[in-house]
Amino acid sequence: MPAISIEDLLQNNPARLWRARAEGAAPSASRGLSTGYAALDRCLPGQGWPRQGLIEILSDWHGIGELRLLMPALARLCSSAGVAHGARAKPAVAQGGWLAWVSPPYTPYAPALAAWGIDVARVLVVHGSGATEWAMGQALRSGACSAVLGWVNPRDPQALRRLQLAAEQSRSLAVLFRPLQAGCAPSPAVLRIALSGAAQTGLRVRIVKSRGGRPATVNLGH
């Protein structure tokens, strides 16, 4: 196989080459789903949560704001009004679908979800022991869910890869919650975010990996 210089490649095969900068320059190509936090939107390629592929949220503590971070986006996807909007144009992420919680650490509290504007009647809670990656994959592949949240820590890189593939192919927002330590290992996820909190500063969001974007740190406050 003859060697090809980088210049050749850049000039002759622009379509087959992925360029981080180009993606940032043309955000309209894959516009994300706004997080609801302007400071965070600015740091993400596509100005929001990626609509396809796995999002990893790394955190060691419950309750520091890991759900608050997602709530504005989830409310837009899973509100009772979302059904009417969904029919108008075919969105990249299914709206008005279900919201699946796969093996959450506690019970998602229905009155609080309703207060955020989420249609509680379309929430599905799965408490599975073992095979939770499988359950998350099923929820993603079913095409019934607007968003799938999973508290799963796949030890096997293959399982993680399968989840990422399922997330890539589905039209759901796929979020995986893992402990901070998992951030040391490589992951095929599109976006990896580490959360930390402190009593004074509030929630600090550190973008560890972002396809098409750059690592950054955002302080969201209380």
Binding site: V83, G96, Y106, P111, G128, Q138, S142
Partner: protein
């Protein structure tokens, strides 16, 4: 003429006015037409397997053993010529026909036979009703044109019924179910009695002997002593006097028969199930081959469902072994499932994948639950919208439940309650919403955490920084789980916001409890 006045003037039973009383406007084309199928030899037909074995003996009688008297209920033609009649005691019958073979009556089999006839009736009309003990009624007004008129229809029904029940079937077609039954019971001919208009009914019913009504023996005797032997004579009696002497029920029956008042009939519905058994010639050891066999059986099941356009919600697979007890696998669907082989097979595969067979399987039985109506399918107009609004959710729920169990997968609902732990409930996904849910969600009492602990945990309040509170929640004295708590929103050193409470009453556990996270 004023019938009421006349009734007062002439109190004698025989005098007019007739029972139909004030003339009602009867339309010549009434809306219903009932075909009565009467099976005169039902008692004998129900025991056909026994009677065919005794074909050499000609004198047969069915005996009611439940009663003390041992009464002959029915007998064959040979016994009848010997003088045996229904209602006779067995001893009298034996005296008349010494070679009489008696058979015990089987009410269950009779009912089965009637239901089989009713099932066949469903091929001609959806409105079928059973008239125990020996009749079936079909409402055929709408079917006449399709089957080429009443006579033609009767011929078709006769052919069908002759296959299941006996050869003797009697028909009558009239506008009221009761009149049809009466005519059919007395009909000795193969041809159906036909009365098309309701206004003809009183006249046509008049010559019928009262025995066709099957009223109690005593009533019939009393009427006979009064010289009333036919329906017509009965109709001529004064209404109020008749009701007083014989009860309002019998008067109502006369009214039903003549079509003065409507007679609601309970519709016959088929209670079908699917059951299939397949023997495995070489016994099956692995689940892989089992699936291949099951796939074929599911195809049969789906054909069965498609023909009936019905669905099932439960399905049981029984694996029979040589020694070990039968293995039963039960599948439960969230919604009735019609002829969707892929959906059923997928769920089966999920269940069988983690299934260790105790012993080789000798045969498989597939038994469905009751057949249910399928949920109406929306037309394809909003197909795109439909895909998003949860058509795939039932399949997802079934698949997850097949693996984790029923309780592991649930939906959520708000409940109008002040106690935090009672303000939500795990519900069936896709179930009907709780009635008070809307109010509860709108009430929005205070700031609520996104995570709720199932059981409040004792926690250290030392390093907590209190932000809001107290919110006092005191409720639930009526069900024994009453609480009296002061709730606070606090922040710990990791920046997490907690929902903590302290019991207000000294009798309850002291200290601070963590009840939720404002995640």
């Amino acid at each position: 003429m004023a019938p009421l006045a006349q009734r007062r003037v002439a109190p004698a039973l025989r005098s007019s006015p007739a029972v139909p009383g004030p003339t009602v406007v009867v339309r010549s084309r009434s809306r219903e037409l009932w075909l009565a199928v009467h099976l005169p030899s039902l008692l004998l037909d129900a025991l056909r397997d026994q009677t065919s074995a005794l074909s050499g003996r000609v004198h047969l009688a069915v005996v009611d053993l439940e009663r003390d008297g041992k009464v002959v209920r029915a007998c064959d033609a040979a016994a009848q010529t010997a003088g045996v009649r229904a209602g006779m005691s067995v001893n009298s019958a034996l005296a008349l026909a010494p070679g009489l073979q008696t058979l015990a009556r089987d009410v269950g089999r009779e009912r089965q036979l009637l239901e089989a006839v009713a099932c066949q009736g469903l091929r001609f009309t959806p409105r079928v009703s059973i008239e125990p003990p020996d009749g079936v009624l079909l409402e055929v007004r709408g079917s006449l044109r399709l089957f080429g008129g009443a006579r033609q229809l009767c011929r078709r029904v006769q052919q069908e019924v002759a296959e299941t029940a006996g050869a003797t079937v009697r028909f009558a077609v009239t506008p009221t179910p009761l009149a049809s039954s009466w005519f059919a019971r007395l009909n000795v001919d193969e041809r159906a009695v036909l009365v098309r208009g309701r206004e003809e009914l009183p006249g046509r019913l008049a010559p019928l002997p009262l025995a066709c009504t099957r009223w109690p023996e005593r009533t019939l005797r009393t009427l006979a002593t009064m010289g009333v032997r036919t329906v017509g004579e009965c109709l001529r009696l004064p209404r109020d006097g008749f009701a007083r002497r014989f009860g309002a029920d019998l008067l109502a029956m006369l009214d039903c028969a003549t079509g003065r008042i409507a007679e609601p009939r309970t519709a016959f519905a088929v209670h079908e199930k699917f059951a299939l058994r397949r023997d495995l010639e070489p016994e099956v050891v692995d689940t892989g081959r089992l699936q291949v066999v099951l796939q074929l059986m599911v195809d049969d099941l789906c054909r069965f469902l498609r023909e009936r356009s019905r669905g099932i919600q439960t399905l049981e697979i029984q694996l029979h072994h040589r020694e070990a007890p039968t293995t039963r696998v039960r599948l439960r669907f969230v919604q009735p499932v019609g002829a969707q082989p892929r959906r059923i097979v997928e769920l089966l595969r999920e269940r069988l994948a983690r299934f260790g067979l105790a012993e080789p399987v000798r045969n498989i039985r597939l038994v469905s639950g009751p057949l249910l109506d399928l949920p109406a399918d929306a037309p394809e107009l909003f197909a795109h919208d439909r895909r998003e609004s949860g058509v795939h959710v039932p399949q997802l729920v079934e698949r997850l439940r097949a693996r984790f169990g029923n309780a592991a997968v649930h939906g959520l609902a708000c409940v109008a309650e002040h106690r935090p732990e009672a303000a939500w409930r795990a519900v069936e996904p896709l179930g009907s919403p709780l009635p008070l849910a809307k109010i509860a969600c709108d009430a929005g009492d205070g700031h609520r955490p996104l995570w709720l602990l199932d059981v409040p945990e004792l926690c250290e309040a030392g390093d907590l920084e209190f932000e809001e509170g107290p919110e006092c929640i005191e409720s639930g004295w009526w069900d024994g789980h009453d609480v009296a708590r002061d709730y606070y929103v606090a922040r710990n050193r990791h920046g997490a916001r907690l929902w903590v409470f302290r019991n207000r009453r000294s009798a309850d556990a002291p200290g601070w409890f963590l009840h939720g996270w404002f995640a």
